[in-house]
Symmetry: C2
């Protein structure tokens, strides 16, 4: 019996035990239904799990983690299933722990500016409730309509607004979590400040479901900005646009959004998108500021002046929400347009020190040129975080595309950057992690994994290729 069928066998036993203890209706073993849990939104190969447990409470989670550890069954947690690095793909088979039924908002505490949610709650639903209470939860990954907060915390999700407001970690106060084996506890704090013991909550944020599973999440909220204003600036070249980004940051301005769309993306949008984009436009910057109405008015003026000085060819301004939506059109449709531009695609997510943006864009394009594939980049210029797409149509170029990705990773690290700005390592980038972490740092990280999960059963096959 090979390892895969041994896992299938023990999973069947575990599923039966879990069904008996938590309720049969929570356990899925029907192959047709299992297929829906084989993939996330990454380019990972699908792997169908041997069973799915739709947990409804902390006791269900405990039962799964205890039974699975006893029977040596891998467990892969899955919140929204919208990850871009294969984090929710059960690459070693076993059980997928699905959180779709744990999607309740438990509390919004306006006086203490915090919320308590279950990990299966969809981010957008949460943000709507928070905004109804006059408050704000800034993280805004592109998948916000369908991603869930458990995944956001596990991946430390970012998004365009991270430039001003930071990423998910900045908003996690405390976690009710469970370890493989079923031990559960609260870690973190209910107060804004607190330094009692090690900050395990911060370590769990971004740990990609490999250290612990969350049953409840306590989040910090902030005030809702009163006004928002948006600018779209058209540039001849990426260099001019990148210089404008540097100038904005050096001037001390902190827009909430500072997005760059490179020439290949502009070209795609011009040909296939909804907005009319002039022929000579080689790069777009989308900029959004928020705050008190009169302040943002002044900021928009300052920005417009600065953009003109930095050779913006054209600047479009919006202040009402319909106009703002229009300016976001190209940025929003880009993922879809890029998918259609080529038969094959690998989507990367890298970050470099901001000042290295022009060098990074050039290096990525050169890597593509060298191997005869196209490279199209867009993303969060304010954070130096770019989504770099490697595109090709001829199946025979698949190996070249992979070499291009290798080149992009190496160039990123050479520029002082990181192989992943916000999507995580997961399964698809595990082979690159060793390029970024020194052997000593990687060894410590593996020892940490071992401290939480000695049998290596929680979301195996992620982060480290051992």
């Amino acid at each position: 019996m090979n390892s895969r069928s041994r896992t299938a066998d023990s999973t069947a036993k575990a599923a039966a035990l879990i069904g008996k203890q938590t309720g049969e209706h929570k356990v899925v073993v029907d192959p047709d239904l299992l297929e829906g849990f084989a993939l996330d939104e990454s380019e990972a190969e699908p792997v169908v799990p041997d069973a799915v447990v739709r947990v409804e409470n902390a006791e269900d989670i405990r039962c799964v983690l205890k039974t699975a550890e006893e029977l040596d069954v891998p467990v892969t947690p899955r919140a929204g299933g919208t990850g871009k690095s294969g984090g929710a793909v059960p690459v070693c088979g076993g059980i997928v722990m699905a959180f779709s039924r744990m999607n309740q908002l438990m509390d919004i505490d306006r006086e203490n500016l915090l919320a308590v949610v279950e990990p299966g709650m969809i981010l957008k639903d949460f943000q709507e409730e928070v905004e109804k209470a006059g408050l704000f939860f800034p993280p805004d990954p592109a998948s916000l309509d369908s991603c869930a907060l458990g995944g956001n915390v596990a991946e430390n999700a970012g998004g365009p607004r991270a430039f001003k407001y930071g990423v998910t970690r900045e908003y996690v106060l405390g976690l009710d979590c469970l370890l493989m084996g079923g031990t559960g506890f609260f870690t973190g704090r209910r107060t804004v400040k607190g330094v009692a013991g090690y900050d395990v909550a911060s370590l769990l944020v971004g740990s990609e479901g490999t250290l612990a599973v969350f049953s409840r999440i306590m989040l910090r909220l902030i005030r809702n900005p009163v006004g928002i204003a948006t600018l779209l600036a058209e540039f001849d070249t990426e260099i001019s646009a990148a210089r404008a980004v540097s100038a904005i940051i050096s001037r001390g301005l902190v827009p909430r959004v500072l997005e760059l769309i490179d020439s290949a993306c502009v070209d795609t949008a011009r040909r296939e998108g909804k907005m009319a984009i002039p022929e000579n436009t080689g790069c777009l910057l989308l900029i959004e500021v928020d705050g008190e109405e009169d302040v943002i008015e002044k900021e928009i003026e300052t920005l417009a002046d600065l953009l003109e000085k930095q050779k913006a060819v054209n600047i479009l301004a919006a202040q009402d929400s319909a106009q703002r939506d229009r300016l976001w059109t190209t940025r929003r449709e880009l993922s879809e347009l890029i998918k259609r531009r080529a038969v094959f695609k690998i989507a990367d997510d890298v970050a470099v020190p901001r000042a290295a943006l022009p060098d990074a864009l050039e290096a990525y394009r050169k890597a593509g040129d060298r191997y005869g594939v196209e490279v199209a980049s867009f993303g969060h210029a304010g954070d130096g975080n770019l989504h770099v797409n490697v595109l090709w149509n001829d199946e025979a170029l698949a190996d070249n595309a992979r070499k291009t990705v290798d080149g992009i990773m190496q160039a990123t690290l050479d520029l002082g950057g990181t192989i992943t700005g916000e999507h995580g390592v997961g399964h698809v980038k595990a082979k690159y992690l060793a390029m970024e972490l020194s052997p000593e740092s990687a060894a410590l990280q593996k020892r940490l994994k071992n401290t939480f999960d000695p049998k290596g059963l929680l979301n195996p096959g992620k982060l480290f290729i051992t």
Copy 2:
């Protein structure tokens, strides 16, 4: 031979070896000089180390950690020595690793908004350099003239400005660190965003020198606010002042400073301090806003209106730096005045959810009344973080004072708070940590400590009483 003299013996051997490898002048064994390393600014009992090594570079640190591990010698890192929880007190003897000679600013990178420093650099010196470059590093613990950045990172230091700007963790991008035994590596990132692997840097921040030692620190900087304005509001009662704090936060205002001074502190300041304070004033709020000049003008107006509605009896406003200094007088002189108010003092540092502030103040005073000692509190009301001072003059009341502290800790936890908002657990609060962490959470934290430092030699006797 008892354990203490065994340690002295092995330390002597280690010190000789270290001197040979790094240079004799770096090693201190003269008892008169060693006494200067027995204490920090906490109420911990002094413990004279068996040797001090004044490290000058990463290689020196490596040599100390390697030699000490081989010979089973405890090592206690010491940056500024200004900690309030006994973190730098070598409670098990052995070697104190002193960072005063590693105090260089390596780099301020204006374009990428980051700085690289050595851990012995004094915070104030660093802030001055940062401000010369037109940038801002917000953390501002009261000891900023003498505390050093290595200690700030180890303790995750806060300060009044944390209400708007967050604590030290929010500004640590990456760390060059060394483990007990001497293995060194960089952890963290040079980019604003990054999610490659576990966030070990965040775990090390606030780990109180028990997991690793830093040789270089990479810090994120932000823009320097253009203008600052300060208000001092006088209230009849603490309840009115606490309500004003809630009203400010509910209104969505984010002052950079929001400090509360309770009636016992006001009383002390009235009798002994430099400012004239009216007889009927029972509580003070010190509020400071920063930002663009016209914005802060408006904010100050809004705040003044709101404070009046919340029954502030008198509101003093300052906008130039001399006037601001005047309004800070009472807040700044408080620590000194409180020290003089009584022969004996235990200074606590707790945090509660903001809305619980009035209940907390009442509970603390009741605890003091019950045991016949005085309780005087002041601190960062915006964060719910209070410095609670237990004061007594009769030596016979020492036991009562300790019981009062027990009562303060229990009341804090009952209100959903934490035993330490910003000073750390260190040695003096180790006995309270088990009241806050569940046994499961504490067990995991001890396993983490063991993962980094299996022999338990790095800053022993801190955090956990085993």
